[in-house]
């Protein structure tokens, strides 16, 4: 296996992602796991296993991002999710546009210029209604695997409007709708629409420039992509590895920045 030239770790609220790249920026290895309550030891363990697997000897720059970034002590650099997602998506598409990243409890909208610089950004505050957690919660409640939510919703001929955008209250609303005999698919479509109406307002407020890039766990849901495209009226381009955009961007930053040649981990 090629030796990694840089490693990026994205310690998100739901999942932790790790990407190792070579000198050309090609991905050698990518790992994803559910985030454990103690992020730091988990990140160290992942890092160690990746270094061992790739045979890297030590002085690889490691860039950490995500909410847990500051906890990853062995990282040579800490960068925000904004900078890393911008770097990751720009490398993939090489053009100006607007990135919508639907994460676990955090949705980001980032506007990029033609050089990949961040012009403006917005993130959801204080409420997880426009994020993946909204659907994840309901999938759990309804006993449907999360990856089936989107396709199921797209199978509906009409949507059952969900009035509550609150993740917690939507749950009880769904339960009573099911009790009234409303078909599940219609409810699911309604739920997706509720999320998109919230998300779309956030994107619109940033005066998005097309095209819209989509990343994060939410990008794997076909219903979200389609509804967002309809709502914004701009073409959507989904990242090839939607959940790794942040970690990939972090690794790219590690490759491009002159970092002190500090050993990432004592091996």
């Amino acid at each position: 296996m090629t030796l990694p030239a840089a490693i990026g770790i994205d310690a998100g609220s739901t999942t932790i992602k790790l990407v190792a790249i070579d000198r050309k920026g090609e991905v050698i290895l990518q790992v994803i796991e559910k985030t454990e309550p103690l992020v730091a030891p988990q990140a160290e363990r992942l890092l160690k296993s990746v270094l061992e697997e790739t045979g890297a000897s030590g002085s690889v720059p490691v860039v950490a991002t995500g909410y847990g970034r500051k906890l990853i002590r062995s990282a040579t650099l800490h960068k925000t999710e904004i900078a890393c997602h911008a770097a990751g998506i720009y490398e993939e598409f090489q053009q100006a546009g607007t990135l919508v990243d639907i994460g676990g409890q955090d949705t980001k909208v980032i506007r990029l210029d033609s050089d990949g610089r961040v012009i403006n950004f917005a993130m959801n505050d204080k409420c997880a209604a426009g994020t993946g957690r909204f659907l994840e919660n309901l999938a759990n409640r309804l006993n449907i695997p999360i990856e089936k939510l989107g396709p199921e919703a797209l199978g509906a001929s009409k949507a059952q409007p969900i009035s509550s955008t609150c993740t917690v209250f939507a749950e009880s609303e769904v339960i009573s709708l099911l009790a009234e005999g409303i078909p599940l698919q219609e409810i699911l479509l309604g739920l997706h629409q509720a999320l998109i109406s919230r998300l779309s307002a956030m994107v619109q407020a940033l005066q998005p420039a097309p095209p819209i890039f989509l990343s994060g766990g939410g990008a794997k849901n076909p219903a979200l992509a389609q509804l967002l495209e309809n709502s914004l009226g701009h073409p959507i381009r989904i990242s090839a590895r939607p959940q790794f955009v942040g970690a990939y961007g972090a690794a790219l930053i590690g490759l491009k920045t002159d970092l002190p040649s500090k050993t990432a981990l004592p091996l």
Partner: protein, 443 residues
């Protein structure tokens, strides 16, 4: 007659002969230890004023503990025309400043809950909730708040004060005088000035009756000229931040704005700012900045986050950011040239009509544009203050304008000036760091 005499005795012996001299001794002897800022942080020790001036500010609250029954007390909104009350010898108390103090001492949220328990909505302004909560629970970091004999509310800062002060009037059973300031879409017309002036004329007999004395016009002119002088000096203080590196941060400004709000129209405010100005000018000559390494100069819009003031100052300074100016502190300075002590009532009407919040969003944007130019600003933090709707309205458009038209990085930061429950620590850290990264990309 017994009660006032006892109050007077307490005031003369307790306050004048003991507590006040003791306060000055305490400050002059330096018993109050300086904060740790400037030792192990990215900030240099902030420029202060002499212990004497500092004591003069603390004395305002100290006097409040003894003043009931001796001087007449008025509770006023931050944008209320207090010059008439000052000329009549009122002790003026600002519930909003008290709220800020509660916020800075990190007790506001607890006090607010007392108001929420009585049914006040958490959507209500956190200053109003702090004030009402303090009144209902008796909690305050100041040992004692003097009860008012008169309430004066002016709508130039917001419409919330209308209901807030009506509640106060109901609870306290004291007269309330409301001054209505029409919203200015452009400069005030003679009719609008006349409308406010007539309300000021109506205030005089009400205040005279409460005060038990007549207004002397010479005194009013004197007070207005002191207001003007303090405002002018405050403007000069803020403008020292144009120097590179800036000797002052907006966070220092939030602290130093207490006299311009609370002691406007008194000589102490003038002495305070003269002293501060001199020290800042010396600092400029020494080429010493408020932030040890000033890499970025930032403008802050809206009220401060009182309960995280030092935290934010240090967090940003560590990243080379000096928040050199704020529209909020500037709002108390920019109208100085408008004041004319020869025509006191008309001046008061005109000045208080033109305050920031009584003008449209585009007018704030113009001020911001000018400040970006004058203070050589690299980025703007727009604090979207959940509590202050009139200040926060239009910020989204302002951000877009700054970013798209002026090419200045701008961040919308959601928080609340007094309610710490609306401050999402992790989210705010990430946003601020990303904002700094944005400015870095442009250097």
């Amino acid at each position: 007659m017994m009660q006032p005499n006892r109050s007077r005795l307490r005031y003369l012996l307790g306050y004048r002969c003991f507590a006040k001299p003791a306060l000055y001794v305490r400050f002059l002897a330096g018993f109050r230890k300086p904060g740790k800022t400037g030792q192990n942080t990215a900030l240099n020790a902030p420029v202060g004023v002499s212990a004497w001036k500092k004591a003069g500010l603390a004395n305002h609250y100290l006097e409040g503990r003894y003043v009931e029954g001796v001087r007449k007390v008025a509770w006023v909104t931050s944008g209320a025309p207090i010059e008439i009350l000052r000329a009549l010898g009122f002790y003026v108390f600002y519930p909003e400043n008290h709220g800020a103090l509660c916020g800075a001492r990190k007790v506001a949220t607890e006090i607010m809950q007392a108001a929420e328990q009585q049914g006040y909505s958490p959507a209500l302004c956190s200053y109003a909730r702090t004030d009402l909560g303090s009144l209902l629970s008796g909690k305050t970091p100041l040992q004692k708040i003097p009860r008012p004999d008169l309430l004066l509310a002016c709508t130039n800062i917001c419409q919330t004060v209308l209901s807030w002060y009506r509640c106060l009037a109901e609870y306290l059973n004291v007269p309330l005088y409301l001054i209505d300031t029409p919203f200015l879409f452009r400069d005030a017309t003679p009719d609008q000035i006349d409308y406010v002036k007539r309300q000021l004329e109506g205030l005089i007999p009400v205040a005279e009756q409460v005060a038990g004395r007549s207004l002397k016009w010479s005194r009013l002119r004197q007070v207005v000229s002191w207001s003007k002088e303090a405002t002018q000096l405050w403007l000069e203080v803020l403008e020292t931040a144009k120097a590179k590196p800036s000797p002052l941060t907006a966070f220092d400004g939030f602290i130093h704005m207490a006299p311009i709000v609370e002691q406007r129209g008194e000589t102490h405010a003038i002495r305070y700012y003269r002293d501060l100005l001199k020290r800042l000018q010396n600092r400029i000559q020494r080429r010493e900045g408020a932030v040890k390494e000033e890499r970025f100069r930032v403008l802050w819009d809206n009220l401060p986050v009182w309960y995280r003031l030092r935290h934010l100052a240090e967090f940003l300074a560590e990243r080379g950011v000096n928040v050199v100016a704020s529209t909020y502190t500037y709002a108390w300075a920019e109208l100085a040239p408008m004041m004319d002590s020869n025509r006191p009532l008309e001046t008061i009407a005109r000045t208080y009509l033109h305050v920031f919040l009584n003008r449209p969003a585009r007018s704030k944007l113009k001020v911001m544009e000018k400040m970006i130019h004058d203070f050589q600003i690299d980025g703007v933090i727009l604090h979207s203050d959940r509590s202050c709707k009139p200040y926060s309205l239009g910020q989204m458009d302002q951000r877009d304008h700054l970013v798209s038209r002026l090419n200045v990085p701008a961040l919308l930061l959601e928080a609340d000036h007094n309610d710490s429950r609306a401050f999402a620590e992790q989210q705010i850290r990430t946003r601020l760091e990303a904002f700094v990264e944005m400015m870095e990309q442009r250097k």
